[in-house]
Symmetry: C2
Subunit: 311 residues, 2 copies
């Protein structure tokens, strides 16, 4: 089951290989276009709400989740426009969580991706409402007939995203993160926190293609496992960057987690063992995709890249 070629280190600078780099750029471009179209602002005094929704979603981010939706959908030859709508919905859901996370009552972050966070660029009330409306819009898009001709697939997308994003998923993870701040958590507790807080939405993104493609259970399950493991690897890599990277390299404030008393696997295991675990998770993620052969090349390359990246 070991797949050394898939786990060969990425370029020395932590750059993705050229094919993956092109696929990531293409996914970012396609989801950007979809987001722009799906967030058309109305006229009237509510216009600032839509400006804030667009500010929070357009023009930024790695678009990891969008990439996973588009690549998993491509495995089943899903119509690209339909897949881009789902990718946009996931990015809206992700963006809403960041907008609310950054609020003064939560993480109180003034910056996001090097720009003022939404409540700084607008105001707190507008940011709260923009986050709320982004969540609603995500579910609306999934339920719209343009997303899939089969209502069964649309209802399943809504159900799976809600499951990933709600109190037993992402929001539950955020609550655990807050409730346990400053506490010493076990490795298992941190794993659960992170699986909920960031893992579930990444898992949904990888699974979404199979839902869109009405894939057999085994294929959907394989993508879900892949997404779960990529999400876990991604989180450890993120924590390693925070612990070891410099602010200059990552564009984020280094050492923020430790300063905030956040429990991470890096803190519990130490950087060496944490890095080994991330590599193992990436290998495991790639191994779930064997049944898809060459078609899953970009997804396997991504698993490798998330642990090799430098920012």
């Amino acid at each position: 089951m070991t797949k050394p070629p898939e786990l060969a280190p990425a370029g020395a600078a932590g750059e993705p290989d050229p094919a993956l780099k092109a696929a990531l750029a293409a996914a970012a471009s396609r989801v950007e276009t979809a987001l722009d179209t799906l967030l058309l602002p109305p006229e009237g005094p509510e216009a600032p709400l839509f400006e804030a929704m667009r500010y929070a979603t357009l023009g930024g981010g790695k678009r990891l989740r969008a990439f996973l939706v588009l690549e998993s959908a491509a495995l089943f030859k899903v119509n690209a426009t339909c897949a881009a709508r789902v990718a946009a919905a996931v990015e809206m859901l992700h963006a809403y969580s960041l907008v609310h996370d950054d609020l003064p009552a939560m993480d109180d972050d003034d910056l996001r991706r090097g720009r003022p966070s939404t409540h700084r660029a607008f105001d707190e009330a507008t940011a709260i409402l923009a986050g709320d409306a982004l969540q609603t819009r995500a579910f609306e898009i999934l339920a719209e007939p343009d997303t899939h001709s089969d209502a069964q697939a649309r209802a399943e997308l809504v159900l799976a995203l809600a499951h990933a994003a709600g109190g037993r998923g992402m929001v539950g993870g955020q609550m655990i993160d807050m409730a346990t701040e400053g506490q010493r958590l076990s490795e298992a507790e941190i794993g659960r926190l992170q699986a909920l807080k960031t893992g579930r939405l990444i898992q949904f993104s990888a699974e979404a293609g199979a839902i869109l493609g009405r894939a057999p259970h085994a294929q959907r399950q394989a993508l879900a496992w892949y997404g779960r493991d990529v999400g876990a690897a991604f989180q450890i890599a993120d924590d390693l960057l925070d612990a070891l990277g410099t602010t200059e390299e990552t564009g984020k404030t280094a050492g923020k987690d430790e300063a905030a008393g956040k429990a991470t696997l890096v803190a519990v295991l130490g950087p060496e063992r944490a890095r080994a675990q991330a590599l193992l998770l990436a290998e495991q993620a790639a191994s779930h995709l064997e049944m898809f052969g060459e078609a899953a090349g970009n997804l396997r390359a991504l698993a490798r890249f998330v642990v090799a990246r430098r920012s």
Copy 2:
């Protein structure tokens, strides 16, 4: 088209007639049970999130929206358990909007239905997350197979609720409300604000039964119009109570709208013309239901009651 018997004034004390009173109590009890079941808290450090979600939804409110779902569903002999799930979803959506509305950055209300608002009973961060998770749970419930055996109906419920609740619906109305505070709005502008802020969700509630019952277009449309007019009448009645009622009678701080510089139809038209308009809207609401005959008696009685009530 005038239907004087339907618009006969309610009891002198503004009480609903006995049949309506019983139906309202039954609806409140059924949705309470459904909410309790659908918001089972998990164990673990995220438990306070679910406590806050339950605090914000259980044990209070007129349950007007739940009543509309259950009564409209009964017109089409929809399974009562399925209808109660949709009623619970609408009440969760409504509750989330109140939790976020009450936040310090929004209306900054310490009290809700005579109890500390959610961010006072818990904390701001928990209230933000509880509102977020209530919205997610509402969509999750609608998409779950237990809500309807036909995925088409589930996807339509999600779509219609999202349309009612999002940036072009309820949240858009909240944005307008904030953005125009202290401004003098025209009658048309106030009408639009209130149609979005409170009307759309009430309209969805009345329409939901037709979606669940897979009713022909004309019947769904009739219920949507009924809901729209009941919602508008309800809002004027609410504003009249705020302007003319005493704190003792209504259980709310009287004169709050005027003090906050909120634009209401009562302020623009004066209480007499506003009251006449509410009565006209109630008559119009009832008239949309003619096709349902006796079966819509409770819905017609409700239209009468929302303008007659004293609290």
